[in-house]
Amino acid sequence: MKRTTALIAGGTLLLGAALAGVAIARGQGDQQTAAPAPRWSYPLPPARGTGYSSLDTAQPGGPWPVLPGRLRGPEQPIFYRHDIHAGQYRIPCLYCHNNAANSWTANIPTVSTCMGCHLVISAADTAGNPNPEIAKLRDFAARGEPIRWVRINKIAEHAHFPHMRHVNAGLACQLCHGNVQQMPRVFAAQNVNQMGWCTNCHMRRGITRDCTTCHF
């Protein structure tokens, strides 16, 4: 439980930093240097009524990006938007997927990690009703039920991919996962099971291409 408390505190702090306009871009080096021109347009901010929390009133980076007409990627139990969290708010990937830096697998954040922020943030509408997707999240948390996310990237079981080595080498997550910060719904940007794609990168960078590096 200690970690949960820490996460809630961390979440609040982080949000404060984001509000101040500080972009914490650890793990997103690629994005910083490339700084792609946003492909979405910003509508006028909606009229605000009562029911907004002070946090909700100030949306850093303006209002949320609009959704494209067609969404790629599978439907998820909660319409979690990476384009808002990672794109607009610039929350570093490793804030939620923290094990990518120290483990073979990059974890899916625990429900309590989400609740660290969403205990406070409800993105309520003018009537004061929380955003329906956040409401779903809170229901999961209240029921004590894990969220059954649909898996997007799965490396075949005969290959073993050490996330921590790649993250520690300073590689951007986007290199394999695509520009997740622009994806309203995540889709597989790359077929991670195309070995030629792995080896090309290894070859370019002069990294080992020995089969037993990954296959055992």
Partner: protein, 995 residues
């Protein structure tokens, strides 16, 4: 190359067809609700606990991944096993994930089992216990396995609350003769601590101390450290037993006395020792002993035991000269009607040679002294028969299987009003019960035991329970509460509370992390008593016809007393002596087999009077002509899909009332006759050939030669001049190519050294390999077709005797050569160039990589491998929908996520646990450290009780493996083939003859 080109073309044509395949249903990812403080997905967590697969009490570390236990290893700080573990300990996981476990509480209604809630079951027991307690004293019986420590005391308190003292700690192998002998000679009914490591001479009178005797892992370590050759020194080991088992295979010399005369031989040696003036006793004791031993002059003993007088004199001389020495006795197989006498004789021998207090030490207590006696079990049976027991609770033991049928346990148990089995598995006893309350397996339990006086070894759960099970102590606490009895201090509601009682939480956590408190008690001085003087020293009687063959019932190294029978790894583990798996065999001496007209594979009826069982003949040179041997452990009528209906138990031949003076059941009690049934059953053996045919696979050298500085190298198939030229030019061109690309960089070269002078053949490595590498269990029918999948096997050859190259030895003067055979990771590997798809290739760090997803199953590599260490998946062992699926039910939970589960049509083999190498390398890089020698250990080397396997980087001149490679005993198997193996074997040293 043409073959390779062809397959490339064929592969392109096939790719178009395969491209249409999708991945099927979407996968889901379920994150945790709350991150756990001690769990990082993808990184293992280790928990310290204690192995409960036998009463020895080895410390273990259990590797858990994402909350599931996937590997058991020894705890390096534990005083019993020092980081090592036997095959049974490795297989503890298969008990945890056994697909046949009892998954919920159930109640017998007529002939059917009905589910029952925990609450109802507890209420029912509480009511019955209350009624029994008010009906009188001792009307409740509680039978457990060997226990010591907090829960053991709690069980007694619980029973006391219901006015009963009928508490049994029943073990089939209770070593009663040892305890009784200690009482008779030294006045302490206990089992001493045997220190093999400091003994310079070991004399075993039938104690299988490397298999099942007391604490085999501990003894294996000690024995290997003293008997392994080092710097011109090694201890000598002489096995004195009618059957030469795995322990005897390690002996430098085998002396085979007539069954039942081992004790007499020990007395003969003792007597000779005194006569030679080598005794280390003086005064009254010496006079008294001299008077007793006078009867046992070498001549008389030689006649009775059929061991030559000169041998007796020589053994006495050697035993007395080596200081300190150690004699041991009391193996279950040789527990005959005079077993206590054997143990007393051996105690005297140790005493006379001055070993007591040195290699034989008495501590304040031993866990064995708490184990119930066979007589106690028989009186419980009598009490149940008389209706004196209303409620019987059975926990962690299976008397319905391990007691001989004639003991009448089954019938007597049926007369008990309420029979409750706290069982993890539906064993024979649970099948007879009214209520089966599924118990946690030891890997899910809390507990503590005291394997050595002063050592408190903790048991803790390593994962959430697999099923709806509950720890027995928790059930009892709840039952006591329902019955309104107070059995525990206030605030204690669970077994964990009992353990932690009176200790600050932080202290207890620290204790759990270490695995317990390891402060071994100091030994105490003992004096010779006079109690043994009234022993008659009569030789034991054997039932059955005088011309029959004495039957030895031998505890199985994997199955123990039968508790391992539903574990696939242990069933498929080749018996170290006969190499047979899955079956019940009867060992017959080659000459006896000729006389009886039987061959290996013939089915015979083994009969002792009216009682008979069926077994397969295995012609085996390690038994005397007048002896046959059968393994204990098979013949279950329940217990699960692998155990039920398999083989037969020699216990079915026993008379329950044949006991020795200590009251122990005589396991060696009857002479049997063998009759051919006419049928045959091919032996499911992994033995290729019992002889080496001059191939020089497992080599040995005489101690006298090597100690004197000349260890002649055996020459096998010397190279001709043209062969030499061809090899030289091939090597030159290889050297050029070995410099290409990454191969020329500064890589490690992983190599192994195996010291055959230490290897005991115990096969722990084989089980560890199964656990680490997701190796499927294939079953008897596939083993018969030589399709077993074990990546490491122990080969066993008979050598060093006069005879033809296909003959089995018939005398006792043969040597046994054992050698662990695994992929040699050849630097010039025959498997690699023949692979058309580069699935077998050489890695820059010196391994023979085997890439399963590349493999197309041509099997060229296996055909070209001279070591026969490649294994082909003939069936879909890894596919859940397949009939041959090797991991049914929860068994798939033990799969190591770091290792690919291979599919049908794929060749697989040892790669020195490459997943462990990569894990260590990645881990070191992330920490910013460099790998040190010893950071990577393959599963086999990790578990080896004898520490025979050394692994490391041969490019580092200071690594242990580099130094071992330079040993004068080093050789490569099939060196003449120029495969340049990465495994250096160190020749076994045999110290036969005069020492």
């Amino acid at each position: 190359m043409r073959r390779r080109r062809f397959l490339q073309v064929a592969g392109v044509a096939g790719a178009g067809v395969a491209a249409g395949c999708g991945t099927g249903t979407p996968d889901h990812l379920l994150p945790y609700l709350v991150p756990s403080d001690d769990l990082v997905p993808g990184i293992p967590t280790w928990y310290a606990s204690t192995c409960r697969e036998c009463p020895a009490g080895c410390g273990i570390l259990v590797k858990a991944r994402e909350g599931r236990a996937i590997k058991v290893e020894g705890n390096p700080h534990h005083p019993v096993n020092r980081g090592r573990l036997c095959a049974r300990g490795q297989a503890a996981l298969q008990g945890l994930y056994d697909p046949d476990r009892v998954t919920q509480p159930r109640k017998r209604e007529g002939n059917v089992w009905k589910p029952i809630t925990w609450d109802d079951a507890e209420t029912e027991i509480a009511t019955a216990l209350g009624a029994a307690a008010s009906a009188g004293a001792d009307r409740v019986a509680f039978v457990t396995g060997a226990e010591s420590g907090t829960l053991d005391r709690f069980y007694d308190v619980f029973l006391g609350a219901f006015r009963s003292t009928r508490r049994l700690r029943y073990e089939a192998f209770a070593f009663e003769p040892l305890r009784e002998a200690s009482r008779l000679t030294f006045g302490l009914a206990t089992v001493p601590r045997y220190d093999f490591a400091s003994a310079r001479y070991v004399l075993s009178f039938g104690a299988d101390f490397l298999e099942t005797w007391l604490s085999p892992t501990e003894f294996g370590r000690g024995f290997a450290s003293t008997h392994g050759y080092r710097d011109g020194r090694m201890a000598k080991f002489v096995a004195v037993e009618p059957r030469r088992g795995m322990t005897g295979f390690n002996a430098d010399e085998w002396v085979a006395p007539k069954p039942g005369t081992e004790g007499m031989l020990a007395l003969g040696i003792a007597s000779s020792l005194m006569r030679q003036g080598k005794a280390r006793v003086a005064g009254v004791d010496a006079d008294r002993l001299r008077a007793i031993l006078a009867r046992f002059d070498p001549g008389t003993v030689a006649e009775a035991t059929e061991v030559e007088e000169a041998v007796i004199e020589r053994l006495a001389r050697e035993f007395g000269d080596a200081q300190p020495s150690l004699a041991v006795a009391g193996g279950v197989a040789h527990q005959h009607r005079a077993a206590t006498q054997t143990a007393v004789a051996v105690n005297l021998l140790n005493y006379i040679a001055g070993n007591v207090g040195r290699t034989v030490r008495f501590l304040s207590s031993s866990p064995w002294e708490r184990v119930s006696r066979y007589a106690d079990m028989r009186s419980l049976v009598a009490a149940m028969n008389e209706g004196g027991v209303d409620v019987a609770l059975v926990h962690g033991t299976n008397p319905a299987f391990t007691l001989p049928a004639t003991a009448g346990f089954v019938e007597a148990f049926a007369k008990v009003r309420l029979k409750v089995a706290f069982a993890s598995h539906p064993d024979e006893t649970a099948e007879l019960a009214d209520l089966v309350l599924p118990d946690h397996t030891p890997l899910e339990q809390w507990g503590d035991i005291e394997p050595i006086a002063g050592v408190r070894s903790l048991v803790q759960p390593v994962m959430m329970p697999v099923h709806d099970t509950k720890q027995t102590a928790d059930v009892l606490l709840s039952v006591a509460q329902k019955a309104g009895k107070s059995v525990a201090p206030a605030g204690v509601a669970t077994a964990r509370d009992l353990l932690a009682a009176g200790r600050p939480e932080r202290d207890f956590d620290r204790l759990l992390q270490a695995g317990g408190e390891f402060a071994e008690a100091a030994p105490r001085a003992v004096r010779l008593t006079t109690d043994f003087a009234r022993l008659g020293w009569a030789l034991p009687a054997f039932d059955g016809p005088a011309d029959g063959l004495v039957l030895l019932a031998v505890p199985h190294v994997g199955l123990y007393d039968g508790r391992g029978a539903n574990k696939g790894w242990l069933q498929e583990l080749p018996d170290p002596t006969t190499k047979i798996t899955w079956q019940t065999w009867v060992e017959v001496h080659p000459e006896t087999a000729t006389r009886l007209g039987v061959r290996s594979g013939d089915l015979v009826t083994v009969s002792a009077g009216e009682r008979q069982v069926e077994a397969v003949v295995c012609v085996f040179p390690g038994v005397r002509r007048d002896v046959v041997a059968m393994p204990i452990g098979q013949g279950h009528t329940a217990y699960g899909r692998l155990a039920r209906g398999r083989g037969a138990s020699p216990l079915a031949l026993f008379a329950a009332d044949a006991t020795d003076p200590s009251g122990a059941l005589a396991f060696c009690q009857t002479r049997v006759t063998l009759t051919r049934t006419g049928g045959r059953r091919p032996l499911a053996t992994t033995e290729g050939s019992p002889r080496q045919h001059d191939r020089g696979i497992a080599r040995a050298v005489a101690f006298t030669a090597i100690a004197a500085g000349h260890a002649p190298e055996e020459e096998h198939e010397a190279l001709t001049e043209s062969e030499r030229t061809a090899i030289d030019s091939a090597e030159a061109s290889q050297r050029r190519r070995a410099e290409l690309g990454r191969y020329g960089e500064d890589n490690p070269k992983w190599e192994m050294a195996i010291d055959l002078s230490r290897c005991t053949g115990c096969s722990a490595c084989v089980a560890a390999c199964y656990a680490e590498n997701n190796i499927p269990v294939v079953g008897e029918s596939q083993v018969v077709r030589s399709r077993e999948m074990a990546w490491i096997r122990i080969e066993r050859f008979y050598d060093g005797f006069a005879g033809g190259e296909n003959d089995l030895p018939t005398g006792t003067d043969f040597e046994v050569r054992q050698i662990p055979m695994l992929c040699q990771q050849c630097a010039n590997a025959p498997c690699e160039p023949v692979c058309p798809v580069y699935a077998a290739y050489h890695t820059p760090d010196g391994l023979n990589g085997q890439i399963y997803n590349r493999c197309v199953g041509t099997r060229y590599c296996a055909n070209n491998c001279p070591y026969k260490v490649r294994y082909f998946n003939w069936w879909d062992y890894g596919h859940p929908a397949s009939d041959e699926y090797a991991f049914p039910g929860t068994l798939s939970w033990l799969l190591n996520p770091d290792v690919t589960v291979r599919t049908k049509g794929v060749m697989e083999k040892c790669t020195f646990c490459v997943q462990r190498i990569r894990f260590a390398q990645n881990d070191a890089r992330v920490r910013g450290a460099t790998l040190r020698d010893g950071d990577v250990t393959p599963a086999c080397a990790q578990t080896c009780p004898a520490d025979a396997i050394t692994f490391g980087d041969a490019h580092d001149p200071n690594s242990r493996v580099s130094r071992k490679k330079l040993d004068e005993r080093g050789y490569h198997v099939f060196q003449q083939l120029n495969t340049k193996p990465g495994i250096t074997y160190l020749r076994r040293v045999i110290r036969s003859g005069e020492a």
